[in-house]
């Protein structure tokens, strides 16, 4: 016999309005604070990178022979000190933001442009297309991002374009896999069935129905991969395989400063802080967007 029980008002814990307001406020703060900090830091990085010629106090490549390896503030014009050639660390970090952001955004864009159509096609068509694309993806996924980028950049040489290409290719399998798994869910939806019943072709369904519905999840993950791309670029430059010196990339500055960590730790410290803040910014934005838009993606 089914037991029917009506809800008793006593079952419900009703908070007094005065008690409810601060709790809702806290919840709102908890939700928006990380995204606020992340967006703020990411916006700061974009502004610094875009306005580097205006913001940087000095040229990143000018050598001041009277200020070699000076600490922060030791010479008025060098707020964060100088390196072994007397170059201004602050100016180099400001210009380095350009390289990091360019590589971060362009490589993720490359991975999206290559990976998303392949993933959607694999997921929608199935059969041999899916098998071929996914096995190739599995092969590339056997390499960790840095290792694959390292192989490609070694083969092609360390230039900005090659680094973007290397990191982009290394990130592509992640987008293929995600786009495919999203497509597998979307293609079973009623609106896809309706579109097909109305005579829409496969390409149209993929372009007009699957892609827009997968987009928000892909954007969230892309934001997180910008952080990975920035870290990978810094790692490649640190290993001496990225953009060659004297171009001021953060990894280069850190790598060059390594020899002077005993006398002049500020070189490695400030460039490391820059890398960490940039990666943190995109991690925060990506995490917060994921929680806001689709908590199911937490496992991705």
């Amino acid at each position: 016999m089914a037991i029917a029980r009506r809800a008793d008002p006593a079952d419900l814990v009703v908070l007094a309005p005065a008690e409810e307001a601060p709790r809702a406020g806290r919840r709102r703060l908890r939700r928006w604070l990380p995204i606020g900090i992340g967006l703020g830091l990411a916006a700061l990085m974009v502004v610094v990178a875009a306005a580097a010629p205006l913001i940087a106090p000095l040229s990143p490549s000018v050598q001041f022979s009277d200020a070699v390896l000076k600490g922060p503030g030791a010479v008025d014009r060098h707020l964060l000190g100088t390196d072994e050639f007397g170059r201004d660390i602050l100016s180099r970090i400001v210009w380095g933001a350009r390289i990091s952001l360019e590589v971060g955004l362009a490589s993720v864009l490359f991975a999206c442009v290559l990976g998303i159509p392949l993933g959607i096609y694999a997921g929608y068509r199935g059969a041999w297309a899916e098998v071929t694309i996914m096995r190739a993806t599995d092969m590339l996924m056997a390499f960790p991002t840095l290792l694959l980028a390292l192989i490609i950049v070694t083969a092609l040489g360390g230039t900005l374009t090659n680094e973007i290409l290397a990191i982009g290719v290394a990130l592509t399998p992640n987008f293929v896999r995600l786009a495919r798994s999203l497509t597998l869910t979307i293609r079973e939806q009623d609106y896809v069935l309706a579109a097909r019943a109305l005579g829409a072709g496969q390409l149209r369904v993929m372009r007009r129905h699957v892609f827009p519905n997968a987009l928000y999840a892909l954007v969230v993950v892309a934001t997180l991969y910008i952080a990975t791309a920035i870290r990978t670029e810094a790692s490649l430059s640190f290993l001496g395989l990225g953009i060659p010196p004297p171009t001021p990339s953060w990894g280069n500055i850190l790598s060059e400063g390594r020899q002077y960590i005993k006398c002049c730790p500020w070189i490695t410290t400030f460039s490391g802080v820059a890398i960490m803040v940039a990666v943190l910014a995109f991690n925060l934005v990506g995490d917060a967007l994921r929680d806001l838009l689709d908590p199911r993606l937490r496992g991705e």
Partner: protein
């Protein structure tokens, strides 16, 4: 279980071959002639031709490719261009250094990351506990291992002078004594060698372990959150079991399957991390060998190191997938 294991094994073989092919062709399109890099600009045409013949580079690419695959599965990666010794000998010598680093950093990551992840999940409604732990995880994820390594070197090696700046310790002695049985004859010497290894291992393991702990704590947190939202946890609570018993008797045990995923992801990240960590700490190992080999254009050595890295990752992922099926019989291959 058996069909699943067989199918998973069959998938791993072409994956391995494909990954090795990528390594082979990437190394073949490298700019510059390996013989020219080895012998210098002064080398005569005859000498270069001899060198190419000795290295087998005069043969058609397809023959070289098949030869490389056949030799690689026998762990024969040719000879180093610089020193002329077999690459497999270098790999055999460097592998233990990388292995102990990965194991030690895994211990640090597990001891720091798993408890943080669990506490963060269980106390997620307490912002005073959850917030600092989540911030730790985010900072760990954002902090590059090479920077953390340099910071540790500045503090503990340069200023406090408690740990060495470079080197990997006397691991060769430890291995030799274990192999020859001298460990029982000279236990004092053995312990001294082990102590030296640990002394050199502490900072690299801490640097790599702490950055990995961030990933581990996030995975452990989501694994715990997933488990405690299950019906059997509600049932355990409903029958009046205390929170401690619910966590220790029910939740922790069922975290095992999601936690297995960590091992697979962990090995891939840790191996990548060793490339950077060994370079920062000037520590011998496969990662530093790879970077040095690329810098010196020693292609067979670089190719051997990358192939071994890939083999390890594919085999570990295979083992993890097979373990899944053992731990959770509901898992089948689709």
């Amino acid at each position: 279980m058996l069909p699943y294991a067989l199918r998973r094994l069959l998938i791993a073989v072409p994956m391995l071959l494909g990954a090795m092919s990528i390594v082979f062709f990437a190394m073949r399109i490298l700019p510059g002639d390996p013989c020219l890099a080895m012998m210098g600009d002064q080398a005569t045409t005859e000498a270069l031709a001899d060198c190419a013949r000795n290295l087998g580079l005069h043969r058609p690419l397809a023959i070289q490719y098949v030869d490389y695959l056949w030799r690689s599965v026998q762990l024969d990666f040719g000879h180093s261009l610089r020193q002329g010794y077999p690459v497999s000998a270098y790999i055999a010598r460097m592998f233990p250094h990388t292995f102990v680093l990965v194991v030690a950093s895994a211990l640090v990551a597990a001891l720091v990351g798993v408890p943080i992840g669990i506490v963060s999940a269980l106390k997620r409604r307490n912002p005073l506990v959850d917030y600092p732990l989540r911030v730790f995880a985010l900072l760990g994820l954002s902090m590059p291992v090479f920077w953390l390594g340099i910071l540790l070197l500045i503090v503990f090696s340069l200023h406090l002078d408690v740990f060495p700046l470079i080197g990997g310790g006397d691991l060769d002695t430890v291995i030799a004594m274990l192999g020859s049985g001298e460990v029982f004859t000279y236990p004092g010497d053995f312990l001294a060698a082990v102590g030296d290894v640990l002394y050199h291992l502490a900072l690299p393991a801490l640097a790599l372990g702490l950055t990995l702990a961030a990933t581990v704590s996030r995975l452990a947190r989501s694994a715990m959150l997933e488990v405690i939202s299950q019906d059997f946890i509600r049932t355990a609570r409903a029958k009046g079991q205390g929170e401690r018993a619910v966590v220790y008797k029910h939740a922790l045990r069922n975290m095992l399957v999601p936690l297995l995923t960590i091992i697979g992801i962990f090995v891939a990240i840790a191996l990548t991390g060793t490339v950077l960590t060994e370079t920062v700490f000037t520590r011998p190992g496969l990662g530093k060998m790879l970077v040095d080999a690329i810098g010196a254009r020693d292609y067979p050595l670089a190719q051997g190191a990358i192939t071994v890295f890939t083999m390890i990752i594919i085999v570990v992922n295979l083992v993890v997938d097979l373990l899944y099926a053992v731990v959770d019989p509901r898992i089948t291959y689709r």
